[in-house]
């Protein structure tokens, strides 16, 4: 499957913080065919460092999509049956407007003058894209990690526009531990002199800081067991542990495709996300939801532990919502939703099929 990222421009978007971004670009990809009733559309929501290229082989770069093992003909999100959409989030750096975009008023990149963005803002922009594509009600929204937060936000904010929500390895709000890891990443970037208060465009980017931030991230995405299996205490060359060289490689690779300021904006959006904010309870957040849910967690995920998914499931069940939940066994940690997908794909396939059947 050869794919190409497209971009659509909207006049403006109003943000939770009271500011607007005008105009606003959205990078997105689609796979499969929208049926005549427009009832088979699924919106995929990427995680923190993902982008619109979720599946297939990119026409220009040859890169494989980040969830290619889940999306495609005959896969969990079966593109022979469903029309799949994925867009880059607001404040990202992969085609959608963000701090690295040019501010039309100054002709320079926004950098840190880009307005603060929330998870609900990201979802609002996704809704604009879905409306633009002429889809009134999505068959499903689904994503892992930050994508799971968005999948929950979709069901809460647009109950009539989502038949099913599939949040995977996610949470309704970050714990102190999750915020703490994000803060270490942010501080690593800001401590790099090349960061220069965010004004590094056209100059040397804060590569050292960003790569350290990514190294910390990668540790949290794995598990003790998966690191032991993958690296153990093996040495590479004379005196360097395999795990050290792996993390450095991942860190330096990240610098080539990710913008440090986007890192700051997106992690802040994740940290501030809280479905219970302004409400007496999580249950209250789900008061108006009309979708079904498939919630998935992984036993070895210590970054987004199963109890966070269970908290969501319990609140939904307390409202007698239609919710399926499975805690899948895996040793891959948080990465499981990206790499350990056989069982996950089976769950998604069956859940989508029954949702589609009920709807049509």
């Amino acid at each position: 499957m050869i794919t190409e990222t497209q971009t659509i421009q909207f006049d403006s978007i109003s943000l939770d913080g009271g500011m607007t971004v005008a105009p606003v670009d959205v990078a997105y990809e689609t796979y499969g065919e929208l049926n005549a009733a427009k009832s088979n559309a699924i919106l995929i929501l990427h995680a923190f460092s993902g982008d619109a290229h979720a599946a297939g082989i990119d026409k220009d770069s040859g890169a494989t999509g980040w969830w290619d093992n889940m999306i495609g003909p005959g896969k969990g999100f079966d593109t022979d049956k469903y029309f799949v959409i994925c867009s880059n989030v607001l404040s990202g750096c992969r085609g959608t407007s963000g701090p690295s975009s040019i501010n039309p008023e100054t002709g320079c990149p926004f950098a840190m003058t880009f307005p603060p963005v929330t998870i609900p803002d990201m979802v609002r922009l996704q809704k604009m894209l879905v409306d633009h594509l002429g889809i009134r009600r999505l068959l499903a929204v689904s994503g892992g990690s930050m994508g799971a937060m968005q999948a929950l936000q979709w069901a809460v904010a647009y109950p009539d526009a989502v038949a099913a929500s599939i949040p995977i390895a996610g949470t309704a709000r970050h714990s102190a531990q999750q915020i703490a890891f994000n803060e270490v990443g942010r501080q690593a970037i800001m401590a790099d002199p090349d960061w220069n208060e965010g004004n590094y465009y056209g100059k040397r980017p804060p590569a050292r800081g960003l790569s350290v931030a990514r190294m910390v991230g990668h540790i949290t995405y794995m598990s003790d067991a998966s690191m032991r299996d993958k690296f153990g205490r093996r040495l590479r060359d004379q005196d360097q542990f395999e795990v050290e060289s792996y993390l450095r490689y991942r860190g330096s690779q990240f610098v080539d495709r990710f913008d440090a300021n986007s890192y700051l904006y997106i992690t802040k959006a994740m940290d501030y996300f809280d479905l219970t904010a302004g409400r007496p309870s999580l249950s209250a957040a789900f008061e108006g939801v009309k979708s079904r849910f498939l919630v998935i967690s992984f036993t070895s995920d210590w970054l987004y532990p199963s109890y966070q998914s269970l908290e969501v499931v319990r609140a939904l069940r307390g409202r007698n919502c239609d919710v399926a939940y499975c805690d899948l066994p895996s040793t891959y940690g948080h990465d499981a939703f990206l790499v350990h997908v056989t069982e996950q794909a089976e769950l998604v396939r069956g859940f989508l099929a029954s949702t589609f059947r009920e709807r049509n």
Binding site: V313, D327, L347, F351, A353
Partner: protein, 202 residues
């Protein structure tokens, strides 16, 4: 009655009875739903809003892959989450004898559901009585095939015991069906029934 249930599909006669009891277009919760065979059948053939609870991960995976909304949890926790009278029927099939607190489970079932359907193996069946009488050991029969040390069953009770409990709780039995294999037992159920299915309400 709607379409006759196909026992060969599931190989369980209590499922056949349960499927006949349940009215179409109702809300059904199956506790210990296994791979969701019964719920999937009810959803397609009786258009029920079907939900399940199952503790064994691989079974949960099978059930969800079948399109049934199943919650991966033990029964007591799963019931505690739910609001009052959320379901028309709450099913507990072949599991009451494995519950740590059977009365608590039954009470919760009748809080969460308007009616409870309870199916259990009858410890009063004559083969069980004979096995104990003649061997002097914990009975091992077709119904109770496990050795005492690795049996999932922790409460042993009979048709009569269940009737007495329902009376004592001032609940009402709306239907009682007794089975030996796939055949219905009409007389001496406490002696002849291998499996009993009760439809109970408060």
């Amino acid at each position: 009655m709607a379409q006759k249930f196909v026992p060969e599909l599931l190989g369980r006669s209590d499922y056949e009875i349960i499927s006949e009891i349940i009215e179409p277009n109702t809300r059904v919760l199956d506790l210990g739903c296994g791979e969701g065979e019964l719920l999937a059948w009810l959803a397609v053939n009786k258009h029920v809003d079907a939900r399940g609870v199952e503790i064994m991960g691989p079974r949960v995976q099978q059930a969800i892959a079948r399109g049934v909304s199943v919650f991966h949890s033990d029964i007591e926790d799963a019931l505690a989450d739910l609001p009052d009278q959320a379901f028309d029927y709450v099913i507990l099939s072949q599991t009451l004898q494995e519950s740590r607190a059977p009365l608590k489970v039954l009470r919760e079932m009748l809080r969460v559901g308007r009616r409870a359907i309870v199916a259990f193996p009858n410890f009063g069946h004559w083969t069980v009585r004979m096995a104990q009488l003649f061997t002097g050991r914990a009975p091992k029969t077709k119904l109770f095939p496990h050795d005492w040390f690795d049996s999932p069953n922790i409460h042993f009770f009979t048709v009569e015991d269940f009737e007495l409990l329902v009376q004592a709780q001032h609940w009402t039995i709306e239907k009682r069906i007794f089975l030996a294999g796939s055949r219905q037992v009409k007389v001496l159920p406490n002696l002849l029934a291998e499996v009993a299915v009760f439809l109970v309400r408060t």
